[in-house]
């Protein structure tokens, strides 16, 4: 009797373990399919022409995506310039006054900002920037992406600043350095890797965002370097091409998807290397 129930229990355990492994492995299947499909369809499209020439006319084969590559780079640069200084300063403020009421409100706000659906970033920045300037622009797209980056950079910077030991700060203050010099010459350099990690994470998050750009950067079939004019971006191009009826455009969209996924994955890899190499150890 006892023996039987033990057998039953062991059997149950095996069954459960098998089930857990099976379900977890099933998740790998769609990923393998997805990545395999992107590589299979995408890699054949990529060549010099694809990367460095302008799109061909509707229905014509060939043509490139240089305009949206340039646009994506431009949008990311604008977003980083707008968001990183504010984010780092905000994290410094929270770190200096951890129990302060404003700090607590900021922490709550950061959590809420992170939860705002990306499409809402799009319509609000449309109302704030596009309507008054009467023009879709890469500036507007950069503002939307910058706001999306803010919470990520604030959080990772705050985490890093927490790890900078108090003794470093005290040593600097004891030498008579004013607080701002302590921050600029001691605290920030010590936390640089964490801040960099946050920026890279933020960039990899926003690089693939489409929804905030629909009504801000808008898309543009021509190469544009003016921040007050609409600009194309890789995710926008993928969206427009993949929902079009032309097979030529579908294959261009696969090529663009390959580039975008590779870019995001490489950024993630670099982030991990940065974390590993320059972790704060004192």
């Amino acid at each position: 009797m006892k023996d039987l129930s033990l057998k039953k229990r062991v059997f149950k355990e095996r069954l459960f373990r098998g089930g857990v492994f099976f379900l977890a492995s099933l998740v790998v299947v769609p990923l393998a399919l997805l990545l395999g499909y992107i590589v299979k369809k995408g890699i054949g499209v990529i060549n010099w022409d694809f990367l460095f020439s302008m799109p061909a006319g509707v229905g014509e084969s060939g043509g490139g995506i240089v305009h949206s590559l340039a646009g994506t780079v431009m949008l990311i640069v604008i977003a980083v310039i707008l968001s990183v200084p504010v984010a780092v300063a905000t994290a410094l403020f929270i770190n200096d006054h951890p129990k302060n009421r404003i700090s607590r409100m900021i922490r709550f706000t950061v959590d809420m900002l992170q939860g705002i659906p990306s499409i809402i970033m799009g319509i609000v920045v449309y109302l704030w920037v596009v309507l008054p300037m009467k023009n879709f622009s890469s500036l507007a797209g950069g503002v939307a992406l910058g706001i999306m980056m803010l919470p990520i950079v604030i959080k990772s910077t705050e985490e890093t600043l927490k790890m900078v030991p108090e003794s470093l700060k005290e040593a600097s203050m004891a030498l008579g350095a004013p607080y701002y010099k302590t921050v600029l010459h001691v605290i920030l350099p010590a936390g640089l890797s964490g801040i960099l990690t946050g920026v890279l994470l933020g960039v990899s998050r926003i690089a693939g965002e489409t929804a905030p750009l629909l009504f801000t950067a808008f898309g543009n079939p021509f190469l544009n370097t003016d921040i007050f004019k609409p600009v194309d971006a890789l995710p926008l191009l993928i969206y427009n091409y993949s929902t079009s009826p032309y097979p030529e455009w579908h294959s261009l969209a696969w090529g663009a998807s390959f580039i975008l996924v590779a870019f995001v994955l490489i950024l993630n890899l670099i982030t991990r290397l940065v974390v590993k190499k320059w972790q704060i150890k004192y």
């Binding site: 857990v20 379900l23 403020f93 809402i120 701002y180």
Partner: protein, 311 residues
């Protein structure tokens, strides 16, 4: 605090007064710069909310509460209602949570208890991170190319109109997108279960699955619930993949195969071509969406906080 320090040095040496005051200026300037940055982050969120309320106000003035009580969205006839999209949003996101549940639970139990270290654990972790890193629009594109034909052939076998797009198609892709998120939250929660509790159960001769069901899950229940709330918040706000796969129909969905629209997807679809009251109504949909995700996320966060304090 720092300003106090600066204040104390004011009365110190008179000879270096000029130097000190320039330092004080910089010190004060720096502190107020930090404060301004922090406050600007607060203002951004506040301004988001105020903008949405002010811009959708004309709709409520014109149509009263009809936005929340009627069932028809017909921009040509100036009839607006959020209900079809609220229904579409709730259906797709709840269905996707339902589909994602067994997989993300399996992943979090596997990574939190069975395989904590080793090459397999690293492999599963990288897979989930990879899934999380792929942009939404690519999920949508893949869904159009691969998933849509599959659903179409399923619908033909079932004798239905083979739309291929609809609530189910969108939910399937959505569940793939939220599994990594829910699984990583679940793993964190499960690995926070105190070792003593598990060891006590093992010492009594419990098998691993018994420890999971009788110790780990009861202990981690609230944390896991919180994780699914946060995942739900993501699913509700997800835009691109859903827009590409849900079929964009402005009626309350009749079943899981019928085309529909979520709040996010109707904005993505119609905002570009809208004007006048139509734009206002779409902004009001955005306001409802923001409030809904805000509520779900803060519920998730507060449950998580209680779990972490209690645990």
């Amino acid at each position: 605090m720092t300003m106090n320090k600066a204040g104390h040095t004011r009365g110190a040496g008179q000879g270096s007064a000029a130097l000190l005051s320039s330092h004080q200026m910089k010190e004060k300037g720096f502190s107020s710069f930090l404060l301004m940055a922090g406050v600007s982050v607060l203002l951004v969120l506040g301004a988001f909310f105020v903008t949405l309320v002010l811009q959708s106000w004309p709709l409520f003035r014109e149509t009263g509460l009809g936005f929340f009580t009627t069932l028809r969205w017909a921009p040509m006839e100036n009839e607006y209602s959020v209900l079809p999209f609220l229904a579409g949003t709730l259906m797709t996101s709840l269905l996707s949570i339902l589909i994602a549940f067994p997989f993300s639970m399996a992943l979090s139990i596997l990574l939190g208890e069975y395989l904590k270290t080793g090459p397999f654990a690293a492999a599963f972790k990288s897979v989930t991170e990879l899934l999380a890193g792929i942009p939404s629009v690519i999920y949508g594109f893949w869904g159009i190319m691969i998933l849509m034909p599959l659903i179409q052939s399923l619908q033909m076998k079932l004798g239905m109109i083979p739309y291929g797009v609809g609530v189910l198609t969108a939910s399937l892709i959505l569940s793939l997108m939220i599994i990594p998120y829910a699984a990583s939250l679940g793993r964190d929660v499960i690995s926070m279960v105190p070792g003593e509790l598990k060891e006590a159960a093992y010492a009594m001769g419990a098998t691993r699955s018994e420890v999971v069901f009788h110790v780990i899950l009861p202990y981690a229940r609230s944390g896991i619930t919180a994780g699914f709330f946060l995942a739900l918040g993501r699913a509700v706000g997800e835009t691109m993949a859903v827009t590409m796969l849900i079929g964009n129909s402005n009626f309350i969905p009749r079943g899981i195969f019928s085309p529909a629209n979520t709040m996010a997807s109707v904005i993505a679809n119609e905002f570009g071509e809208a004007d006048g009251l139509h734009t206002t109504a779409l902004i009001a949909v955005g306001l409802v969406l923001m409030i809904l995700t805000g509520l779900i996320n803060s519920a998730g966060k507060s449950i998580m906080k209680r779990f972490q304090v209690g645990g």
